[in-house]
């Protein structure tokens, strides 16, 4: 009845299997727990962003469908999520360093942080926004003319949400003018 007998191999496989489940389960539970709004705002550094967000449409709206911090900031797909989580350990480092632990420090760093997020969203074609919103499912006729006009252009020229919808959940960093970055349609030539 040695370990390497047929039965032994089976035992190893079996225990491996059980351990795997436990480990995997624990890992995913940890992932789950760190993917809740309450976790994000457990650091006072994130409180400022939380407060601003509570007066926006993604916190409270007509239909009661809410977007929480991870919905916009943490990818849904497994592999992208892991990568983001690993990068987020950087936040723990800066927490320890006290990089943005006062309002003044936060304001001083805010543009940098925002630019990181914009770059990330731009590189993924605003993937997290598109988990919930989608041009294909938008009825342009039901939108305000201002929205529909710009969305028609966005579809035609392949622009993505974050190019126009900065500051959707938080205030924009002071001194930043979104008009510098919003895309514009090329002038239509008459020929």
């Amino acid at each position: 009845m040695g370990l390497f007998s047929k039965q032994g191999t089976f035992k190893i496989l079996f225990f491996g299997f059980v351990l795997g489940i436990i480990f995997w389960g624990g890992f995913n539970t940890a992932l789950e727990m760190t993917n809740k709004e309450s976790f994000c705002i457990s650091c006072h550094e994130m409180q400022n962003n939380y407060e601003e967000y509570t007066s926006t449409i993604h916190y409270s709206n007509r239909t009661g469908v809410k977007a929480t911090c991870p919905d916009c900031h943490v990818p849904k797909e497994w592999i992208h999520k892991i990568i983001r989580k690993i990068k987020a350990s950087n936040e723990v480092y800066h927490k320890l360093m006290g990089t943005i632990d006062t309002q003044e420090k936060f304001e001083a760093h805010r543009l940098e942080l925002a630019k990181d997020e914009w770059a990330r969203m731009l590189s993924t074609d605003s993937r997290e926004c598109r988990n919930c919103h989608n041009f294909d499912s938008m009825d342009l006729d039901k939108q305000e003319a201002r929205s529909a006009n710009r969305h028609e252009q966005a579809i035609e020229y392949g622009w993505t949400c974050i190019q126009c919808h900065k500051g959707i959940a938080h205030e924009l960093p002071g001194g930043y003018d979104p008009a510098d970055d919003t895309p514009s349609a090329p002038e239509k030539s008459d020929s």
Binding site: I57, E144, A145, R146, R150, G174, G175, P178, A179, T182
Partner: protein, 156 residues
């Protein structure tokens, strides 16, 4: 025994206090009644009494092409919703579309030229401080009956 004495002094003190406050009260009453006799509200006796009229719930209208102006130099009414735009010390949500830099891209009307003029008449690079709080002059509209009858007619 001891107890009664204490109460006695106490009553005595509070009596003096009462006299003082009554005198003060009388004085105040005189002070306020003097001007009240000589000044009358423009409304006359028709002072508002009771709670103000309850305003119903209405939805902000979106009017493509904007609203007609009723007189020259009227700040045009806002033909779209504004609840999501914030005007703070750091940022002005309206300028995201109406600024010199943005208006062409957003296909929005540019703020009036007058908005760039400072108090001393100089032309500025940026919107003047006097025109920073847009909703002080520009307001969105709902479709409701006026609360007070109005006989104003448009200037031609």
């Amino acid at each position: 025994m001891l107890n009664t004495k204490k109460t006695m002094t106490f009553t005595h003190k509070s009596l003096t206090r009462k006299v003082i406050s009554l005198t003060l009260l009388a004085l105040t009453a005189v002070m306020f009644s003097l001007p009240a006799m000589s000044v009358e509200s423009l409304r006359g006796d028709d002072a508002p009494n009771g709670p103000s009229v309850k305003v119903g719930k209405y939805r902000v209208k979106s009017e493509e092409g904007g609203y007609e102006r009723n007189f020259k130099k009227q700040p045009p009414l806002i033909p779209h919703k504004v609840d999501k735009y914030r005007i703070t010390l750091k940022n002005n949500g309206c300028l995201k579309c109406h600024s010199e830099k943005a208006y062409k891209k957003e296909d929005a009307p540019k703020v009036g030229d007058s908005h760039y003029i400072a108090r001393d008449g100089k032309k500025l690079e940026h919107v003047s401080r006097r025109r920073y709080f847009c909703v002080q002059c520009h307001i969105p509209q709902v479709d409701s009956d006026p609360l007070v009858e109005n006989t104003y007619e448009n200037e031609e």
